[in-house]
Every structure is written in C-alpha cells, then in structure tokens.
C-alpha cells in the first residue's frame, strides 16, 4: 500500500510535465504474456519499434504466463497514471475487477492479439486481433486457385486439439475448399503446433498414402509443423514444394528460408504488429476523440515464393522469432 502511495505521488508529481498530452508524450503500459513462443517475442520487438516510431513511451511488463502478474502490472500502470494500457490477455476470463479500476481512473485499455469475455464490452476501448478463421480461408483459397481443376488430396496437420486457433484455422480452410469438389482433405491429425510432431505425423501420412504419391498438398495450421513436415517429405525422397504443395500459417522466418530453397509454397501471415494499429487508434482517440470500432482486424497477408521470400526472411529474422 505504501509503495502504491509513493508511486501515486510520483505519478502526480510528474503530472505537470506529462499534462500537455500531445501524441508525442504518450506513455503506454503494455502487459505482455511472456515468452511463450517465438511469435510472442517478435510481437514484443515490433511493439517497441512501433512505439518509438510514434515517439510513444512504451513500458512493457512481462507476466511470465500468469494472469495474477498481468493484474498486478495493470494495477501498477493505473497507479503510475499511464495514458493507456495495452493488454495481451493470457486467459479470456477474470478481468472484470481490474479493468473496472482502469476505467475508473479513465485509462483506456486496448487488447492485443487475444479477446476476452468481460461482463461489459465497455471495459476496453478496442481489441486488435487477427481472424484465425479468415487465415484458414486465405490458405484454402490460395490452394484452390493454385490447383485449379485438378483432383487434389490434401493432408492436414492440425494444431493442438481444443485450441481455438486450431479449430478456427481448420474451419476457415474447410469453408474455402468446400466450394471446390476436386479438393479433399484425406487425412487430418494433430501435430501439436510443434516441429517434432509435425515431422512424425507427416512421416505416417506418407506411409499411409502409398509413399506420398497420392498426396497433392499439405496444409499445416502453423509454419513450425510445416518445417517438420518438409523434413519428413525430403527424407522420404519426395520434393516438397514441387511433388507436394505446401501452405501453412504464421509466416515465421524459417518458412521463408524453405521458400527460398523451393521447398515451401505459401504461408499466411499472422502479423506480430498488433501494437501499430493499436497505437494509431489510441492516438486518434486521444487527439481527435475518435472512438475506434470494438474490433480492429489485422491483415492476413498471403506470401508465396513470388513475393521475394529472401527479403521477407531478412526483415523477420531479427525480430526474435
């Protein structure tokens, strides 16, 4: 409590300097989940660079995958009197109390990457997330367009069973290929989003489908599983990218490496730049009072080997993936 009071008085003391709130001096507190994946690390790196691009002072609190740490971080941001709070929620429930505190302090909260289930939608300003159903659709549409009228047997590497991202990416892909009778998912198994399992599952797919000759394309719910699957195909004497088409989601650097080598065909980007659109919405809100829509959808960009994979690799490899 004493600490909180000191922090409060510090915040108050510094208030005169912060007070003429123009965009140039915004301070934003960002409660990040922690280092759960390479993508998460890239999101942190990109958030920092996007903030400095807009001369916003971004304070990042690493929650080490714990909700209680995130709640503590938000309380401390409120005590410091930041101009806004970015929250990448580790779980979707249990945020009501702390978000109400932020609301009482008149600090807008913007959700990054994941949505929550609050009692009222007025507890946050907006959520910047990707639409994972749409990502699956983009992947499916690319495959349908590339294959044309040929019959095509697809094998699918699903994400972790029960993960909403996996369910949604499957749903989107299924919707996209349902319009094309020549495309058929013949095998579908979970590869737990990992390279090792992706490789193991692909090995069994190849054996179950007559040495892989009847497989026309692989769809993986993330790039890591595809990197594993590409190794499995190579070890079986197949040529991924030529004999078997590949399409996956995330756009991590290593899939671009495979694209440069001609072993991968397409990936759909889950952009790590969630903070950029969030900051733009925040600045417009602070300066002009424009209320953003409740959901800002990030672009699910398709990359193929025609999109200069080497350049994409170079721009992504330093982000911490």
């Amino acid at each position: 409590m004493a600490l909180k009071r000191i922090l409060m008085s510090l915040a108050l003391a510094s208030a005169p300097f912060v007070a003429p709130a123009s965009a140039a001096q915004l301070t934003v507190g960002f409660s990040q989940i922690g280092s759960e994946s390479g993508w998460r690390a890239a999101e942190t790196t990109v958030s920092k660079s996007e903030a400095s691009k807009r001369t916003v002072n971004l304070k990042i609190a690493d929650a080490q995958q714990k909700q209680e740490n995130q709640i503590k971080a938000i309380r401390s941001f409120v005590a410091q009197g930041v101009d806004a709070i970015f929250l990448a929620p580790v779980v979707s429930t249990g945020w009501d109390a702390v978000l109400k505190e932020a609301k009482q302090a008149k600090i807008p909260v913007i959700l990054l990457d994941r949505d929550i289930d609050p009692s009222g939608k007025d507890l946050y300003l907006t959520a910047v997330t990707s639409d994972s159903v749409h990502e699956g659709e983009v992947a499916g549409d690319w495959l349908a367009k590339t294959v044309g009228d040929k019959a095509c047997n697809i094998v699918e590497l699903q994400g972790t069973v029960g993960a909403s991202v996996a369910t949604n990416r499957k749903k989107g892909f299924d919707t996209a290929i349902a319009k094309h009778a020549n495309l058929k998912v013949v095998r579908s198994q979970t590869g737990d989003f990992t390279r090792a399992k992706g490789k193991e599952v692909m090995e069994s797919f190849i054996k179950a489908e007559g040495g892989g000759k009847s497989i026309c394309a692989v769809y993986a719910h993330n790039d890591d599983m595809m990197v594993g699957a590409i190794q499995a195909m190579k070890e079986a004497g197949l040529k991924p990218g030529k004999d078997i088409l590949t399409v996956s989601i995330d756009a991590v650097p290593d899939i671009f490496k495979a694209m440069v080598a001609g072993e991968a065909n397409a990936t759909v980007e889950l952009t790590p730049n969630m903070a950029g659109p969030a900051l733009d919405a925040l600045i417009a809100y602070k300066d002009k009072g424009t209320t953003p829509p409740k959901w800002i959808q990030t672009e699910s960009k398709l990359y193929t080997s025609a999109d200069n994979p080497q350049q994409a690799y170079d721009s992504k490899k330093g982000l911490g993936y």
Binding site: A196, K199, E200, E203, S204, K207, A208, E235, D254
Partner: protein, 327 residues
C-alpha cells in the same frame, strides 16, 4: 537375465506383437520396408526411430525406479541438452557440442542425486525442481526461439544411419548393451535392486547406497541428454518450449509397462525398452489409422490399461479361480 526373460516378459512381448498386428490391420503396408537414401524406410522403422528418445529415457528411468526413486526432470534435461547442442553445433566441432550437452546432463544428474541421496529429499519433489527450472534454463539458452543449425555431424544423431538402421535406433541398442553389461554383468544390478527393496537393510549390509543412488540419477540424466541431442538433431533445431515435453510421463509409463514396480526392488532393462516400443507402436498406429485426433489419448489410455491388466497378478489369480470354480 536371459533366463528370466521368457517367464517375466511374456505379457509385454505378446502385447507388442498384438499391437503391431493391429497396426498391420489399420494400415496394410505397415510391414513394408524399402531403402531410401541408404536408410531403411517403413512404418516399422518409424516405430523404432520415433520410440528411440522414450526408450533412452526409459533405460535411465528404470534404474532410478529400481532404487525406489523417480526422475521427473528427464524431459527438461532433454530440452537443456538439445538447446546446448544446437547453440554450439555450428560454431564448434561436433565432439565439443555433444560433450557440452552430455556434460550438462551430467550436472543435472549430480544435482538430482545430491538432492535425493545426500539431502534426503523425496525423489518426486527433488526432481520436480529441475523439471520446472530446467525448461526455464533451456529457454534462457535459446532465448525463447527455435535455434536451428546445419552441422551435418550433429544432424546425424537424428537422421543419419548405420548399416541402414536410423542412428537413434543404433544409439538405443548401443546404450542398452552398455547399460546391460554394467548393471547385469556385475553385481551392480543386484545392489540397485537391494537398495530399492530395503535401503536400510542393504546399507547395514555394507552397500554404499549414496554413491550408487547418485550415479543412477547421473546415468538417467545422461540418457536424457542423449535423447535431447537426438530430438534436436531430428528437427535440426532446439525447441526449448516443446522438446521432451511430458516425455517423463511416457518414460515412467514405459518402465511400468515393462513390469518394473514403482516400489523398487526389481527391474528389467529390455522390458523397459519394450515398453517404450509398445507406446510408440500404439502412437504410430493411431497416426496411421486416420481416426480424428480427438481419439488419440482415449485410445492410448485404453491400450495401456489392457497391457497393465494383462500383467496384474491379482487379475490372473481371479481368472484362475474362475476357471477352477467352473471346472
């Protein structure tokens, strides 16, 4: 050991054969073998190759369990050794990278052994510490990303071959022979069993329990470190978040399926490896079957239950009594 096998291992070997036959039913080409780039290629090889890491873990785990201990940290040790091997693979000669990874395993084993044998902490708690901290250490080494490498010498451990057999299988066979010679070629195995059966009694009879327990944990961690190198080499990268994740449970399961009691006092190396193969034959079969992935764990649990029931002395007594009653 050779004499004890037919009597004790019957249930396990029968279970393995039955599961392989079921695999053949769900996938007609299950026993097909061909050479691909000088390496045997087929589902049967997949079972051996994919089962290798758990088989290695089981080899170490079975000795730990025989002393009435348990090692929950093997998955985390895999992650640490994989991370070290991957970080050094491209900048150093392969013996350096492998030695560093195994050295890390050695240290982990000493730590576990120290907590269990010297400080007397219960094994499940003592090794839980490294299970949690170890993955964090691995993540620190890789900085939370997947560290990839291209050194062909290290990659050999995962995807290379010797006389057509995949390298991981060769390594497991080698380790099985070495471990077998050490513990069964001498009285060591008997002493380990004695320590597990009654630590106090064997201590009073002059068996140096402490050193032995420490070395058993060291051996277990060394096996895990080797499995970690194989896992990293297999995907040409160290994935600290996922390498070896939950494999400690598979290793314990393999040991239990292999008929080793969690209360210590008796063990079988060959049957522990057989247990690992049973688990993998089941996993590969599930992948080949084409069932939706939601069924994976349920099927696995059902098969494990059946294998364990087959071994249950009480159940076989019940069956015998029932037959007698009917006769």
């Amino acid at each position: 050991m050779a004499l004890a096998l037919p009597r004790r291992g019957l249930a396990q070997i029968a279970a393995l054969i039955v599961i392989l036959l079921i695999d053949r039913m769900v996938s007609p080409q299950f026993f097909d073998l061909r050479l691909q780039d000088g390496r045997l290629f087929g589902s049967l090889i997949d079972v051996l190759n994919r089962g290798a890491p758990v088989a290695l873990l089981a080899l170490g785990m079975v000795l730990v369990i025989a002393t009435r201990g348990i090692d929950l940290s093997v998955g985390a040790v895999m992650a640490i050794s994989g991370a070290i091997a991957a970080s050094l693979a491209d900048s150093h000669a392969w013996p350096v990278a492998v030695a560093a990874a195994l050295g890390a395993g050695l240290l982990c084993g000493l730590w576990n052994g120290f907590l269990v044998a010297i400080l007397g902490i219960q094994p499940i708690v003592a090794t839980l510490i490294l299970m949690v901290a170890g993955r964090g250490i691995a993540q620190l080494i890789t900085e939370g990303r997947i560290v990839t490498f291209t050194s062909p010498d290290i990659i050999w451990f995962g995807t290379g071959s010797l006389l057509g057999m995949p390298a991981p299988v060769v390594i497991v066979v080698g380790m099985l022979i070495v471990t077998g010679l050490v513990v069964r070629g001498s009285a060591l195995g008997l002493l380990i069993e004695a320590a597990g059966g009654n630590a106090r009694a064997s201590e009073l009879s002059g068996v140096g329990i402490r050193t032995m327990v420490v070395s058993v944990y060291v051996w277990c961690s060394l096996c895990a470190a080797l499995a970690g190198i194989i896992a990293a080499a297999d995907i040409m990268g160290a994935d600290a978040n996922n390498a070896g994740l939950w494999l400690e449970l598979d290793a314990i399961l393999a040991v239990v399926i292999g008929g080793t009691s969690l209360f210590g006092g008796r063990f079988s190396l060959v049957l522990a490896v057989c247990g690992a193969l049973i688990i993998q034959a089941m996993n590969t079969g599930i992948l080949l079957s084409g069932y939706p992935p939601e069924f994976n764990l349920v099927v696995k649990a059902a098969v494990v239950l059946v294998v364990l029931l087959l071994q249950s002395p009480r159940l076989s007594d019940l069956v015998a009594n029932y037959r007698k009653a009917r006769a």
